[in-house]
C-alpha cells in the first residue's frame, strides 16, 4: 500500500491524532504522542496494513534542526585551527521526538511514524505491548534522549549506568568532567610543553618499500 493511502487510512480512523503527512526520503505520518499506543495496535492488527515488524525506534532531539536546511547539527560557534569545534553552553530548546520505522512482512510496505513532544514534558505512550522489541529501544531512548514512555513495563537506563546524570544525545548535553571520581576527559599526552627530553624521533620504522612478498600458503 502506498504511504499516502496508509496516511489517509490512519487519518480516517484516528482523525485529530494524526497530525501531518511526512514527505521526506521516507514517507510517514506525524501523530500525537499520547495516542501512539492505539495507533500502533491498529497498524499491527489491521489486515491491510499488517505492520508486524518494528524495525527501529529512534529517540531524537530536534534542537537546532534548521527548517531551512542550512542549520548546524550542534551549536557550534566556530572552529579552532585544527578544526576542533567550540560549542556554546546554551540551554537547548526545541522539541524531542520519536520515530518508528515500521515494516510489514506480509505486504512488503514501510511506513514511519513520527512523534514530537515538548522538551518540558517529554512523554510518549509506550508501544512495548504492541511490539515487545520496543521495550529495549524505548529504554534506550529514555537513557540517551530522556523521553519518558508511559506504560512501559520497566523503564530503566539500559546502556549507561543507573546512576548516570543527564541524557547524552540531547543537543545541550554537557559532558561531565568526572564521574564517581574518575576523570572522563582523558589525559592529553601530547599537550605538554615540548622539551628536548621528549624527542622520540622514530629511527627504526620500516617503510612501505620494505614490504616483501607475503607468503601465505593455504593449508589444503
Amino acid at each position: 500500500m502506498e504511504a499516502t493511502a496508509i496516511h489517509a487510512l490512519l487519518q480516517s480512523r484516528f482523525g485529530d491524532a494524526v497530525l501531518d503527512y511526512v514527505d521526506s526520503y521516507e514517507k510517514g505520518s506525524l501523530v500525537a504522542a499520547g495516542r501512539v499506543g492505539e495507533i500502533a495496535t491498529f497498524l499491527r492488527d489491521d489486515a491491510t496494513l499488517g505492520f508486524e515488524s518494528l524495525m527501529s525506534l529512534t529517540g531524537l532531539d530536534w534542537d537546532g534542526y534548521d527548517a531551512t536546511g542550512k542549520g548546524k547539527s550542534v551549536d557550534i560557534l566556530g572552529y579552532d585551527e585544527l578544526g576542533r569545534p567550540e560549542t556554546s553552553d546554551r540551554v537547548g530548546d526545541g522539541d524531542l521526538g520519536v520515530a518508528y520505522a515500521l515494516y510489514s512482512p506480509r505486504h512488503g510496505h514501510k511506513h514511519t511514524l513520527f512523534v514530537r513532544v515538548p522538551r518540558a514534558a517529554p512523554e510518549v505512550a509506550s508501544v512495548a505491548a504492541v511490539w515487545p522489541t520496543a521495550e529495549w529501544h524505548e529504554r534506550e531512548a529514555w537513557d540517551l534522549v530522556g523521553i519518558r514512555f508511559a506504560g512501559h513495563p520497566d523503564l530503566r537506563r539500559i546502556l549507561l549506568d543507573d546512576a548516570w546524570e543527564g541524557h547524552p544525545l540531547r543537543k545541550d548535553y554537557a559532558m561531565p568532567g568526572a564521574w564517581q571520581g574518575v576523570p572522563l576527559d582523558g589525559r592529553d599526552y601530547a599537550a605538554g610543553k615540548w622539551t628536548e627530553a621528549d624527542v622520540t624521533l622514530p629511527d627504526d620504522v620500516k617503510r612501505p618499500e620494505d614490504a616483501k612478498l607475503p607468503d601465505t600458503g593455504n593449508q589444503g
Partner: protein
C-alpha cells in the same frame, strides 16, 4: 528473593515449595566465557534449571551516535567499523548505502562489485566465528581453531586489500577508498575453492555429530511470531523458517543481479527454530556467499571506484531515511536524520544483535543452564554492536 515467572518444561517439576528452598541468583558475566564479550546475564536458577534471565548491557557503550554529531559524514564511517568488529565491512556497507541513497549518488560498477565481494567474504568470516564459538560453547574446541584458520585466509585477503586485519574503513561514501590490488580476483577465487571443500569437514566434525545434535536440537526454540515481535532478524529469523533476507526482499547495491538461495530452518533434527537450525542456516549461508562471490568476481568490470561527482565534504539534504542492509548477524539499519549540514543531525543505529539478544529474556526461562549457554551462542551476538 522474589517469585519469578514460571518456566516451562523442566521448570514444571517444581519441588521448591516442599523443600522451602529459594532460587539462586547467579551472575553470568560480564566476565564469563559463554557471554561472548562483556554481557552480563542475571540468571535465576533452581539447580540446573533457569527460571529467569535479565540481560544487562552497556559495558562497551561508547555513544557512537553522539560522536556522529561531531563528525562529518565521511569521518563517521570509521566508527561504523567499531560496531560489529567481527563484520565491519557489513557495517560500513549499511552506512554507505544509507548516505548514498539520501544523496542520490550512483556508485560505480566496479566499486559495487568489490563491495559485494568484500561483504560476502566478511559474512563468511563472521559466520565462521559464530560457528566456531558456538562449538566452543558446546565444549568442542577443535572446530573453533579450524574456523579461525579459514578466517585467517579471509583476513589475509582483506589485509592486502585494505591494510587492516580487523577494522578496515575501506568503504567510502560514493565508492571505495582505493581500488583492489592486482591479483585480488585470483586470491578470492582460491579462497572460495578452499572454503567450499572445508564446509563438509565442519559438517562431519560438528554439525552431524550426535552429541552436538543432542545439545542443540529442540533447544532454545524461537518461533516466527516471537521473532517478529522481538525484532529478531538474520539467521535467527531464517532459522525459524522464514526465508527473509534484506539482500533479496529489500534489495540494495547490486544484490538483485546475483543468483543465490536463502537457507532457512526446516527442523531437520528437531523443532523449527531451534539452535541447530540457526547454526545450520549460517553453515549454508557460507555456501551461498561463495556462490555470490564467484558471480561477482566473474562480472567484475573495470573503471573507477569512486563516484566522480562527489565533493570531499559531503552535505546531505534535509530529511530522514531508514535504510537497512543484511549484515551477518541480521538487519543492520541506519535511521539517519540530516539537516542539510555537513554532519549527521542524528544517526540511530538499529543493530541486529540488540534485538536478537532481547529475545533471551523471553525464551530463557525454563531451559537448563547449559541450554542457556547454547542459546546465547546460537544467537551470535556481538557486544560492540549491542552497546554501540
Amino acid at each position: 528473593m522474589s517469585e519469578t515467572a514460571t518456566g516451562r518444561g523442566w521448570a514444571e517439576q517444581d519441588v521448591r515449595r516442599e523443600l522451602h528452598s529459594e532460587l539462586l541468583e547467579i551472575n553470568m558475566g560480564p566476565q564469563h566465557p559463554a557471554t561472548h564479550g562483556v554481557l552480563r546475564l542475571l540468571v535465576r536458577t533452581d539447580g540446573e534449571i533457569v527460571h529467569g534471565v535479565t540481560a544487562h548491557i552497556g559495558y562497551l557503550h561508547r555513544c557512537a551516535e553522539k560522536i556522529a554529531e561531531g563528525c562529518d559524514w565521511r569521518q563517521w564511517m570509521v566508527y561504523t567499523d567499531r560496531f560489529d568488529y567481527l563484520a565491519p565491512i557489513n557495517m560500513n556497507f549499511g552506512y554507505a548505502v544509507a548516505v548514498e541513497r539520501m544523496l542520490g549518488v550512483q556508485v560505480p560498477e566496479r566499486a559495487e562489485h568489490i563491495r559485494v565481494i568484500c561483504a560476502e567474504l566478511q559474512r563468511i568470516a563472521s559466520h565462521l566465528i559464530a560457528i566456531g564459538t558456538f562449538g566452543l560453547d558446546m565444549g568442542a574446541w577443535t572446530p573453533l581453531l579450524y574456523c579461525f584458520r579459514e578466517r585467517e585466509e579471509i583476513l589475509n585477503i582483506l589485509e592486502r586489500l585494505t591494510g587492516g586485519r580487523m577494522l578496515y574503513n575501506y568503504f567510502d561514501i560514493g565508492g571505495l577508498r582505493f581500488d583492489a590490488y592486482e591479483g585480488f580476483e585470483r586470491d578470492v577465487l582460491d579462497f572460495v575453492n578452499i572454503m567450499e571443500q572445508k564446509i563438509p569437514e565442519y559438517d562431519t566434525l560438528l554439525s552431524y555429530n550426535k552429541i552436538f545434535i543432542e545439545r542443540t536440537a529442540d533447544v532454545g526454540v524461537i518461533d516466527v511470531a516471537t521473532c517478529r515481535a522481538y525484532g529478531c532478524t538474520g539467521p535467527v529469523l531464517r532459522g525459524a523458517g522464514v526465508p527473509f533476507d534484506c539482500r533479496k526482499d529489500d534489495p540494495y547495491s547490486i544484490y538483485d543481479r546475483f543468483e543465490f538461495d536463502i537457507p532457512y530452518g526446516e527442523g531437520e533434527q528437531g523443532t523449527v527454530g531451534d539452535c541447530w537450525d540457526r547454526y545450520m542456516v549460517r553453515m549454508r549461508e557460507m555456501y551461498e556467499s561463495c556462490r555470490i562471490i564467484r558471480q561477482a568476481v566473474d562480472a567484475l568490470p573495470g573503471g573507477p571506484v569512486k563516484a566522480e561527482d562527489l565533493k570531499k565534504l559531503v552535505k546531505v539534504p534535509q530529511g530522514s531515511l531508514y535504510t537497512r542492509t543484511e549484515s551477518s548477524k541480521g538487519e543492520i539499519g541506519y535511521h539517519i536524520f540530516a539537516d542539510g549540514g555537513s554532519k549527521p543531525f542524528r544517526t540511530k543505529v538499529r543493530s541486529p544483535s540488540f534485538s536478537n539478544l532481547h529475545v533471551i529474556e523471553k525464551v530463557g526461562p525454563g531451559m537448563m543452564l547449559s541450554d542457556l549457554v547454547a542459546t546465547v551462542g546460537s544467537l551470535d551476538i556481538v557486544l560492540g554492536e549491542i552497546d554501540r
